[in-house]
Amino acid sequence: MSLDLGVFCKNNLDGEVVEHCFSALFGLAHNSDPSYLDWLMKAWVWTLSVAGLSLTIALILGLLMGTLRTLPSSSALNKFLIWLSTSWVELFRNIPILVQVFIWYHVIPAFVLPLKALPSYCLVSIALGFFTSARIAEQVRAGIQALPSGQTAAATALGLTTAQSYRYVILPMALRIVIPPLTSESMNVVKNSSVAFAVSVPELTLFAMQAQEETSKGVEIYLAVTLLYALSAFAVNRIMNQIEKRSRVPGFIVSTDASLAH
């Protein structure tokens, strides 16, 4: 089986070979038709955009919901917040991601009309972000509950309010503990962003399906797409690794053995 990588230098109108492989994207050739390589790069940008937006939503909401789940049930407000965050997690992690994407794209805009004006990549990012936030919330909760109860007791003894003890004592330690599972979750967002093809976001998976039909070069197209997904996920892995190293506190549990960070 020989690979015909020349397919990426053909334009996507009539399959003629273009002057420069990156013809349209960087303006190397004037008025040239876009090649499959140009299209692949655009699709990659879409994948990264959807993943980035989803991850931002997921981290903010996941952190919030995970923290709320661990509140002491001392007041009525706290009890309500615990109930809210628990429902949030159970709702979003019990529905398959593809179904959630369809609900955000087809069902919810039918009832909430302003959402109809939102482009599909925003809706899919909300769906993916909420789905992932439920998983991140559970990891944050696990991190908080992994701390010895003496920490909270000590914070209270110092006269800190609940908000202050979370801000200055609990979260700084808990978040360092959960960086490794958050790394996997962040890489998962990149890979899960492939569901965006189902609602017409022109990202890598949609590119693969359409381009292999037009060119009959399925093997080359899928190899290129696989490579870009792997590269993106690995880049996220390296970034998280750097964050883990930089935020390390000497002597704290997660940082005693440097080899575990890999």
């Binding site: 093809f197 017409s200 949609l206 039909e213």
Partner: protein
Amino acid sequence: MKSKKWARGCLVAATLLMGTLNAHSASQTLDKIKSTGAVTMGVRESSIPMSYTTGDSRFDGYHVEVCRMILVDIKDKLGLSTLRINYQPVTSQNRVPLVQNGTVDIECGSTTNNANRAKDVGFANTLYIEEVRIAVKANSGINSISQLANKKVATTTGTTSVQLLRKHEKANGVNFDEVFGKDHADSFLLLESGRADAFVMDGSILAGNIANSKNPKDYKIVGEVLATEPIAIMVPKNDPEFKAAVNAAIAKIVTNGNMPKLWDKWFLKPIPPKNIVVGLELSPATKNAWANLNDKPAEDYVKK
């Protein structure tokens, strides 16, 4: 012994992966049909009315019925008393590889015969000419492709219509906002829910989806014919004898005057399972294909 079996399994897997099938005997397909007494027909799930499921793993449609007639003819030719037909549902993505590797002996769906695919598979003589059209909401006031500038146009991922739209954009300097449905039903949902202003696709698929919708009167097919494409039955490449047998059977069906009856049955009368009417009149192009049987690819139909 065990390792030998394993090695053979690997070899089979490798052959399947490579998708190559070297025909040694005169007609591998006919030999296989004769020795097993069974044939595998590739069908589509929802290409109404060409090839679709009527529920309970039963398949029917214009091309499926033609294929059944062809297979009866081949059965007689091979002197078999019975011939079991196994139906194998295929998709736009896997139909060519499945015919290439011999999983499917004859594909009776809605496949465009084009030069690119003809490198990998063979096509029987064309019995249906598809015209790519535009479906819009009846109250939209859109009547031609020129009115689609800056409008949202839906089409289905993995079809030739996507490329067609791009070519049209370039040639006329108009700009469409393309949205892609993952299948035809999804693309139609985009039109129905107002996420797209038009759905550009093969005429029969548009007619089928409109007929199946909640209010068929809300939609209409408008505008010029954007492209003409021959839709043909797919057979393995490098098996001229099998292709000749299929074409001989097709010629027999046409001379017996069965085609107008089949058209009437599938395109103009209510069809199972929901008794909808597709309502697509016989086009002069299709009539012409019946009169002059040929297997020309889509490239030969491009108007110059």
